[in-house]
Symmetry: C2
Subunit: 600 residues, 2 copies
Amino acid sequence: MVEYEAPLRDYDFLFNEVFDVTPTIKRLGYDFDEDFLSMLAEGWADHAKEVWLPINQLGDRVGLKFENGEITMPQEFKDAYKQGIEGGWFSTSTKPEHGGMGAPIFFQSVIWGEIATATNMAMSVLPALTLGVYDVLNEHGDQVLVDYFSSNLAQGHWAGTMCLTEPHAGTDLGIISSKAIPQDDGSYRVTGTKIFITYGEHDMTENIVHLVLAKTPGSPEGTKGITMFLVPKYLPKDWKSGDLDGLSHDLMQEHNGVTCAGSEEKMGIHASPTCVMNFDNSVGWRVGDLHTGMKLMFQMMNQERLATGIMGLGLAEIAYQNSLAWAKDRRQGRDLRGPKDPKEPADNILVHPDVRRMLLEAKVNNEGCRALAAWTGILLDQMHSDDPDEVEYASSLVALFTPIVKAHFTDVACETASTCMQVMGGAGYCTEYAVEQFYRDVRISKIWEGTNGVQALDLAGRKITQNMGKNLRHLMWPLTEFIEENRDIPEMLEFNKPLHQGVRGLQQLTLLMIAEGQANPHFLAAGATDYCRYFGNVLLAYMWAKMAKKAMEKKGDPFYDAKIASARFFFKRIYPETVSLAAKIQSGHKSVMEYPTEMF
Amino acid sequence: MVEYEAPLRDYDFLFNEVFDVTPTIKRLGYDFDEDFLSMLAEGWADHAKEVWLPINQLGDRVGLKFENGEITMPQEFKDAYKQGIEGGWFSTSTKPEHGGMGAPIFFQSVIWGEIATATNMAMSVLPALTLGVYDVLNEHGDQVLVDYFSSNLAQGHWAGTMCLTEPHAGTDLGIISSKAIPQDDGSYRVTGTKIFITYGEHDMTENIVHLVLAKTPGSPEGTKGITMFLVPKYLPKDWKSGDLDGLSHDLMQEHNGVTCAGSEEKMGIHASPTCVMNFDNSVGWRVGDLHTGMKLMFQMMNQERLATGIMGLGLAEIAYQNSLAWAKDRRQGRDLRGPKDPKEPADNILVHPDVRRMLLEAKVNNEGCRALAAWTGILLDQMHSDDPDEVEYASSLVALFTPIVKAHFTDVACETASTCMQVMGGAGYCTEYAVEQFYRDVRISKIWEGTNGVQALDLAGRKITQNMGKNLRHLMWPLTEFIEENRDIPEMLEFNKPLHQGVRGLQQLTLLMIAEGQANPHFLAAGATDYCRYFGNVLLAYMWAKMAKKAMEKKGDPFYDAKIASARFFFKRIYPETVSLAAKIQSGHKSVMEYPTEMF
């Protein structure tokens, strides 16, 4: 029996109390209020718990079947997916004109995302990728492509993928060799092999819409020469040449030269296909201008990076809930200060400080990440404001937060899954309890959508200097204001003081990284991972100080008292890692770079 | 293709140069010299690489088969095991009178153990457990039991297990309910259910010898009332009652009331059975005195704890070697200071500081742990000295090091396996490359033989105060001497100074833990895990300073220069975590214990 309750109370606290989201979404023109959003969250939580969660272990055990170029998903997954379409659960944030609900982005990206990945990570990626394709298409595609594909993507009838990686080109997309040859009718013929394509092939939907990066003849070397193409698995039945204007949604029986050559055997997410895709003279259409493929793909990629971070949170949360359930049942040993339940043969393991430490590390990191996720989600909506200042502010922070949410959340999530397994001892290692699946599933999140090392480089090497450092200044403003506001509030001292120290430390480390990095980029790259983790901790510290502040308004209520106790745990037992991280960054690159390469 | 080369060069450096083991083993009366031990290590490395390694992935994929109470192992495992017996590879350290080779314990526990677990962890546990049973039996068993069982155990013809855990009693053995009823003929009838019994049932050997903890009628409550019994799966054919004196080694066809009720499905070590064992009025014989079961089992347990720590090292080493092989082949991106291989489309990923950081973290932690393992292995031999002072010194250090080797090595090993997977990106997550198996397999090592939290409590709550603090004093003596010796050697400053700081920090933290722990044991328990990790880091710091010192004698030779560079990396990029650990310990127990239990 796998336990899961969606953290609806926490969402309410974050969105309505800590971030007071209603005025913002009203101002942004959403026709949604607090109550409706709560109802929507509850409805989705119920659906995910009733339909997705019960088949999650089955998905792990049975997995997918690859045969003759086709992938067959477990029937239970197909049924569940169909129910999701019928319930409108894949179209909460797509446009009403495409059959969507047009809910705020934060609902989809944070609430939907966390619950989806917690209850069935393998399944969750399919609608998440589809939404990414829908969004890129709608923002950059020609009207005729938008018209033809949007409704089916918006409602989940057709699925989407992103096709970037090639066997020799993963992180380094500049060296891809897929080709797209322009045709007289305005279409292209796309040829190449892509690997690690999530849901590249499956039988959950009637059609699969691939966004493929390729190079056109004579395009510049490197990433500058890359263009994005839309290549459907099946073409419309009545298509002969040219564009898709007015064509029916009935599909040809023959593949559009798109074949799946295999699916990787993986450590986890067994019900999420990871495909080798061959495009052989496949008909495709350009999305966006020539040579803008990287920019467009990065728009989708950034969305998926945030989604991956939140996936870490989802899995860490369900791992926590299941190890907690175990701990509540398990009796071993005695409270060191004397038996708590003398009538029982042993006390519950929650009496043991080290067990509590583990559970609190999990819980407090989860809630801190959730708060930062909530803020980021709201910023995603603010990026669509009519006010250019708000757009700039929100875009700057999202640019800054994206690598941190991706890397810090998933690093911490993998540690949390391990900690939760540890709470359970031998049982945690057994398949009977689902935590071992979460431990395996969540591990991909550190790799997906750019490894966490790449995220750290993006943060340290790009995001902090981007726009003349504006990203960071936009963050420092609310941070400094908060610290000033709370400087003289005695009960905030225990949170505000270390936060202030952390922010000062972050500023010093940032200056060090920039200064030394200019002289030698190896310095910056050698410290990037530790810098990203330092930054993540400072943001979580801000979140915890903010939550504690809000909770103090309702002291005496157990929910709010627990928040204050959690904030205290964060500052005492998690945050101190910043001290070591600073020391490692300051130690520079020499110990890393001067090790003789031939002696590895 | 899985890569593995046993670290023979490193063993040579450690045993012969850093610890100069030959005079010690001569003094202890072993008839072994440096050359013979090198040959033995080479022979074992060849056997493990040729026989064990090629079937390791098969073991993971095929696993074991449980049917009608019997476990069938893959035929390849049975063949390999037989070859191991024939080669004498399971009897290197057992006594010559039982057909063993009588090699020094360090050979078996460190060199044999690391290579065995690296090449085939699932297989390695069988001979390791058997040896544990052999040793306990020989030290504490009645002569008639020793005579009957030893030769078959010593050579691996029969296997051994330790049966402690029951469904309701894992860490808390005081509440076990297995019973042993004394019989008139001097034997016992043992009844009870034991879970998580590694190799509790299998078809690798003709017989399985279980050491079972149980309670005799009227024995005291708790761990004080526990006695150890030897219960074979099969009794001798000609046994009717009484003891085993002079009986043949031909066995009955019927089980001795010992049945396997199932084997757990686990995340890893699929070819290592984890059994539910039922003893139903099984014939057994007492090992050692009544009510000494815990003490005796702990002797075996301590041996297995060290073995588990070294298993962590073995898996971390093979994970490192395979991620390194990948990294050497993989070309992505360019050196940030300009292309290294301009003729290639991309540079090798070893140019990237963050990739080097990951590989060095793995390598340097592995080599540091190996050094501490080597020292511990030699101390195990010294425990058998004729000189009571040497025995006391060695026993004290082994008592202190056991929880650290178990917990620190395995914590670090799990992190290392993850780091190595990360180096490989998506490939690391795929089954095709074996690192994902190592990642799953190694995870049990944090749980086995007492979770790492239990190890930390053993260290902080028992080992540092045991014998009036003598354990710690025996460590401080060589540490202080080393620091003094190197105080004025300029090239040692970069290692000696932080080592000195760490040792002082350790002393202060120890005093804090003892003082505060007396007032409130929760303080001690809340800080135990961080304290254990701090201690582990200080010991590795000592090892690295010692290795650097030795390496300086041969500066200019690439092997020794790499050791100095590794020591530098350790002090710059790993050791600084001690600062955070100290802060967490000092923050005390309140943030852990005052969180309201009902709000978890």
